[in-house]
Amino acid sequence: MVTKDRFELMSEKLIDRIFTESSDQEKAVLDYGLQVVLSSLLNYLFIIIISSLLGVRTLALTAAITASLIKVFSGGVHASCLRNCVLTAVTIFTSIGLISKYVGPILGENVIIFFWLVLLVGFLVLYLYAPVGVKEKPITSQAKRSKLKRYSFIVFFTFQIVYYLLYLTGTSASLILAGLLGACWQLFGITPVAYRLFGREYRKEVKEYES
């Protein structure tokens, strides 16, 4: 039997209370939608609060938005519950903000070297691994896999073009570095190493659903 955590139970109760006349099937969809929306809002809310306290809100948000939008198409590792998800996101993106704030000025124009490196590695990683599903939502159809891989490339390259243009216009290296590190975190998230690190199934799942 699958046990539900507090967040899932709260969402379920809320849907039950508001949509009393809906069918069980409809309630399940509404509950899923509510969990998806609330988890995203909570993630961003905590990132904004903590990074603001540390004075790196713009940098942390740049990294988070870059990673999130690539993640929508490339997939990647997930935390086992909402608490771990929020904790991981806040820790990672606030750290990226802090690193970018202090390392950006040191790198200066040399940030372009890191840009080319991310572009090259990103291409390889997306080609090899994107898209990756998780146990809760495997990507079963080959057509969908191809479409998501294509979109992963498009979103990744769009961000790279934006960061290159920002570099050309003399935007602060910290902001560009934050975006690039956000992309790096997401690229790492689709590798088998990340799945192992988070204790999630990777190979078994892909083999099982790809065949």
């Binding site: 699958v2 899932e8 508001i18 949509f19 809906s22 099937q25 399940a28 969809v29 509404l30 509950d31 899923y32 939608g33 509510l34 969990q35 998806v36 929306v37 988890s39 995203s40 909570l42 993630n43 961003y44 999130s68 939008l69 993640k71 929508v72 198409f73 490339s74 997939g75 990647g76 590792v77 997930h78 935390a79 519950c81 909402l82 771990n84 998800c85 929020v86 991981t88 996101a89 994107a130 898209p131 990756v132 599903g133 998780v134 809760e136 939502k137 990507i139 079963t140 159809s141 969908k144 998501l148 992963s152």
Partner: protein, 40 residues
């Protein structure tokens, strides 16, 4: 109630968009409901 209908529509759209994509915006992924699995 109109507001309830709008919220329900938005939640359904969010659910379907999440299922159509590889992942949501966050690091959290709830179990996909059976009815949405059958949709694909």
């Amino acid at each position: 109630m109109k507001a309830k209908k709008v919220v329900a529509e938005l939640l359904k759209k969010a659910a379907k968009a999440n299922v159509a994509s590889a992942s949501g915006l966050s690091l959290y992924q709830p179990e996909v409901p059976q009815s949405l699995k059958e949709d694909k």
